[in-house]
């Protein structure tokens, strides 16, 4: 979808995205020629359409995928353990490029081992859908090995432990 400023006959540029209210996404466009601004507000069905494509709207959208299709119970319990409940997370976080909240996986579980930045980066590089399971497995291996810090060595140990 593209937006054209009719008086200027100039393509408009996306300026911002935000959740306008539950179930609606606001995408603000401005005309680079005259500065005119407009906002597209999606209804629930249009929001779902965007979500179904698994994309983020807006810049800085690398590796951005919307987050439906979560294992409900496991995801809920993992998110709660990470100090973040599904209800407390912006439902549009995965749809808005450049303005997303930190991923749940980036937070350390209060009672679990700590993660090095490098190990966390690896975890965040895999699809969001599989992160809770991966994280739980890696932390289990860390505990088995008496490791308080998860680093590349623990990741390698986890791969070995699970036959990969």
């Amino acid at each position: 979808m593209k937006f054209l400023c009719v008086p200027c006959d100039t393509p408009m540029r996306m300026r911002a995205t935000q959740e306008s209210e539950p179930g609606s996404l606001a995408v603000v466009y401005s005309c680079p020629a005259c500065g005119y601004e407009m906002a597209m507000l999606t209804n629930q069905h249009e929001t779902d359409m965007v979500r179904s494509l698994g994309v983020r709207i807006g810049p800085a959208a690398a590796a951005a995928i919307a987050n439906p299709g979560m294992p409900s119970g496991m995801m809920a319990s993992f998110a709660a353990g990470a100090g973040e409940t599904p209800a407390g997370k912006c439902p549009f976080a995965a749809m808005l490029g450049g303005s997303t909240q930190p991923e749940a996986a980036a937070a350390a579980t209060p009672s679990g081992p700590a993660w090095t930045a490098g190990a966390l980066e690896r975890l965040e590089a895999i699809p969001e859908m599989v992160r809770p399971m991966a994280r739980a497995g890696i932390e289990m291996v860390a505990r088995e090995n008496g490791q308080a810090l998860i680093d590349e060595e623990v990741l390698a140990a986890a791969r070995s432990r699970f036959g990969m």
Binding site: L4, P11, R15, T47, V55, A125, I126, A134
Partner: protein, 292 residues
Amino acid sequence: MKAYSQIEGDGGSGVAEQIADLESAIARRLAGVRHIVAIGSGKGGVGKSTLTRQLGAVLVAEGKRVGILDADMNGPSQAQLGGVRDVPPLPGEEGLLVPVSRDGIKILSVGSLLAEGEALAWPSASPRHTHVWRATRELSKLAELLSAVHWGPLDFLLVDLPPGPERTAQFADFLGPEAAVLLVSIPSALARGVVARSVSALAPLPNRLLGHVENMSGYACAGCGTVRPLFPESRDASDLALPCLGRIPFDPQLAALSDEGRAITEIPDAGPVAAALAEVARNLIASFEELP
């Protein structure tokens, strides 16, 4: 006033670019896979998943490198069949590493991510309308997983499809024209009718239809070693007008093995079922060797 095609770029939404990037990533991930075989039917309950897993085991025994993609996100069974239900996918140095069965098959299944009896949740902004976009969501989620998995070199990636003739065609389209399709039938007129619908649904697509496998083709009696009819009106499936890659009798032993996540190749003398699966594997391999 400018027309759509006269405007360069998308104004900053990045949607088309993201979809193109995702497709490129999937193509890179599958570049080391020699043959993609989508195993479907259209009919549910004909043993697609068990056949997929055990065919994979026989292909491994033939020296092939095999992966299985469980495309049935709502009724995943490959994690259980492969004995990897409790094995998480993990981040590797070159991408997402998936669980590996004891006989060496790499298995990507949502079943590895779900607790027993748990279903995937598909939250929607429009309550009571989750059905509208659900199929698209499933495919975009599957695409995301496929874009991340480091399969490494494989001879065969077997894709266990969900039931439904239309879904069979939809997934064939999703996997791309290089994916071949193998259909599973059972010797009943009802099942053959549904499989025939899948053949029709696949007809407009460029995907190669390899043929069909007749599953539950008689009952392998462990007592006397003979194979007897299982369905009252058992007859050949020539009305499907497809090459038959093999007929596999029903064997309770195979069902028990599968429930335990074991491969038929673990059993030294598995009888008629093992022989039938070996024939399917040979015909499958031959069907690709015939290609120019």
